[in-house]
């Protein structure tokens, strides 16, 4: 549905996006991760046709965003960063305008607006002027605008930014639901959102893709992935060392097997050992790895220093 090939964007001498390629199909939710200034927004602006790319291609449903922008833009719903909207309009007026701009009219327009109002829970503020709304409502108004024409591709730049925890939960649920029938790309720097909403995630840093995979695959890149953490009375570090490298983590013992995929064998070996030695196991946990650890390891802490 959405194909990005070798996308490049330079501002003066600075390469903001440096050769990014990926595809998103219908039914996929792609999380776009990266530190601030990594090029997330710039990439999204190129996908949606706001910035002309310096190099590379974006095709949306087979339409090139540069060569046939109108056809491509019709397929996209876009929530820009900071969710801009016209503050002097009412929510209803703004949505009617957005629907009209999408070519909707009459009964179809009414239905489309009713649908997004329900989806984004805007019925309480429909007649209110946008500049009197809280940040959460403003955000949802702009999201409703992106959904009004039921687009096949959704591009959301930090859709949960500025929302309270309940609203964040709602937004993630909505993204997951929308992802069943649409191709969704959303950017975030909140790692839990990857687990909560994505089928796949890409981590970018300084304009390049540094990791690409399902949330589980990304977690597996973590240092601790595949290890087993054990809390047991009487456990001896020296005896565990026969099974793999051992480290102490917050009073527990963590065993890293030589082969990361041999976690199940390791668990069995530890249980056998504990039974033989008479250790009292209080807690035994297999580590799936942690996204934030992966994120920290593969991205530089401050991308502003280049």
């Amino acid at each position: 549905m959405l194909r990005i090939e070798n996308l490049v964007k330079t501002f003066g001498a600075k390469r903001a996006v440096d050769g990014i390629s990926f595809t998103v199909e219908r039914g996929e939710v792609l999380g776009f991760l990266g530190p601030n200034g990594a090029g997330k927004s710039t990439t999204m602006r190129m996908i949606t046709g706001f910035y002309p790319p310096t190099g590379g291609r974006v095709t949306v449903g087979g339409h090139d965003i540069v060569e046939s922008p109108l056809e491509a833009k019709r397929l996209i719903g876009y929530l820009p960063e900071n969710a801009p909207s016209y503050p002097d309009m009412t929510v209803r007026g703004f949505l009617e305008w957005a629907a009209a701009m999408r070519g909707l009219a009459g009964e179809a327009k009414k239905k489309a607006i009713a649908r997004v109002v329900e989806l984004c829970h805007l019925d309480a503020v429909l007649g209110q002027s946008i500049d009197t709304l809280s940040k959460g409502y403003r955000h949802r108004t702009c999201l409703a605008q992106a959904l009004v024409h039921d687009p096949e591709v959704l591009v959301l730049d930090e859709p949960t930014d500025g929302l309270d925890p309940n609203q964040k939960h709602e937004a993630r649920k909505l993204i997951r639901e929308l992802g069943r029938t649409k191709a969704v790309v959303f950017s975030t720097h909140i790692l839990e959102e990857v687990d909560a909403a994505c089928t796949r995630a890409i981590i970018i840093d300084r304009g390049r893709i540094v990791a690409n995979g399902t949330p589980a695959e990304l977690r597996a890149m973590s240092e601790s992935a595949g290890a087993v953490t054990l809390e047991a009375r009487g456990a001896e570090e020296a005896k565990l060392a026969a099974l793999g490298r051992v480290e102490r983590v917050d009073g527990a013992l963590r065993v890293h097997p030589a082969d990361r995929n041999a976690t199940a064998e390791l668990v069995r070996a530890i249980l056998d050992l504990a039974a033989r030695e008479g250790w009292k196991i209080e807690r035994l946990r297999t580590e799936e790895g942690q996204l934030d650890e992966v994120f920290r390891r593969i991205t530089l802490p401050d991308t502003a220093k280049k």
Partner: protein, 244 residues
């Protein structure tokens, strides 16, 4: 065309949803009244003509039209709605045309509200209403030319104040190039061909013809090309921001 109209309708709505429109209309009508009847000595002249009314328009518009046009693009850029607008399925040309036409329509409404002077002059005497119609057309084109320039300067910057000042300066140049105290000064040392060339760039020279009731295609073309050029420049500037 539909997209242009939808954008224009929203833009026009945003004029009237803020106090700007009403403040503008009141100030415009007050100033028009003052210049026509007091400074222009409308009654004392004893002529059934609207010359004292129209001759002030290039000066009045100089301040008021940039004020009406300065927010067109700078506000969209400042609020980030430019990104929203240009990622909708519209071409930049449609967006520029829609916003320009909305503001122009607003200025046309302001101009139309001056109809009492036409009524007055018709009650008091027997004016050449054809000439008045031509002058109104000229005035509308004049405001369109100023507005297109304000549109261009507002695309240059996020600051409405900067956009306003730049527009006033450019429009002032277009006025002064044909203003007789300035051309008289030029005549002393410059060859007449140069003076004429400079004067040909002035809105005054072209607006004068309309005031006399002459609708010449060359004057029409002048205003159309100023509008066309300024709007084209707007498109180039807007693209320039995004091209990086």
């Amino acid at each position: 065309m539909r997209a242009v109209w939808i954008i224009a309708r929203r833009e026009l709505g945003s004029y009237f949803s803020s106090p700007l429109a009403y403040v503008f209309l009141v100030i415009f009508l007050l100033l028009v009244g003052f210049f026509t009847f007091t400074a222009g000595a409308f009654f004392e002249r004893g002529e059934a003509s609207l010359a004292p009314f129209f001759s002030w328009h290039p000066w009045l518009y100089l301040v008021l039209v940039p004020a009406a046009g300065m927010r067109l693009w700078s506000e969209e850029r400042r609020a980030g709605t430019l990104e929203l607008l240009l990622t909708l399925p519209v071409t930049p040309a449609q967006a520029i045309a829609g916003k320009f036409l909305a503001s122009w329509l607003f200025l046309a409404i302001a101009l139309a509200l001056t109809f009492p002077v036409v009524v007055t002059v018709n009650v008091l005497g027997d004016p050449d209403n054809g000439a008045i119609a031509a002058a109104y057309l000229g005035s509308l084109l004049l405001s369109g030319a100023y507005l297109a320039i304000a549109c261009m300067t507002s695309a240059l910057t996020r600051s409405q104040v900067v956009a306003f000042i730049l527009a006033v300066v450019i429009c002032l140049f277009l006025v002064l190039a044909g203003f007789s105290p300035v051309t008289d000064l030029l005549v002393r040392w410059a060859p007449p061909a140069l003076v004429d060339t400079v004067a040909a760039f002035s809105v005054i020279t072209h607006f004068d013809a309309f005031q006399k009731g002459v609708v010449d295609s060359r004057d029409f073309l002048f205003f159309a090309s100023v509008i066309g050029f300024a709007l084209f420049a707007t498109a180039v500037i807007l693209r320039g921001h995004r091209a990086g």
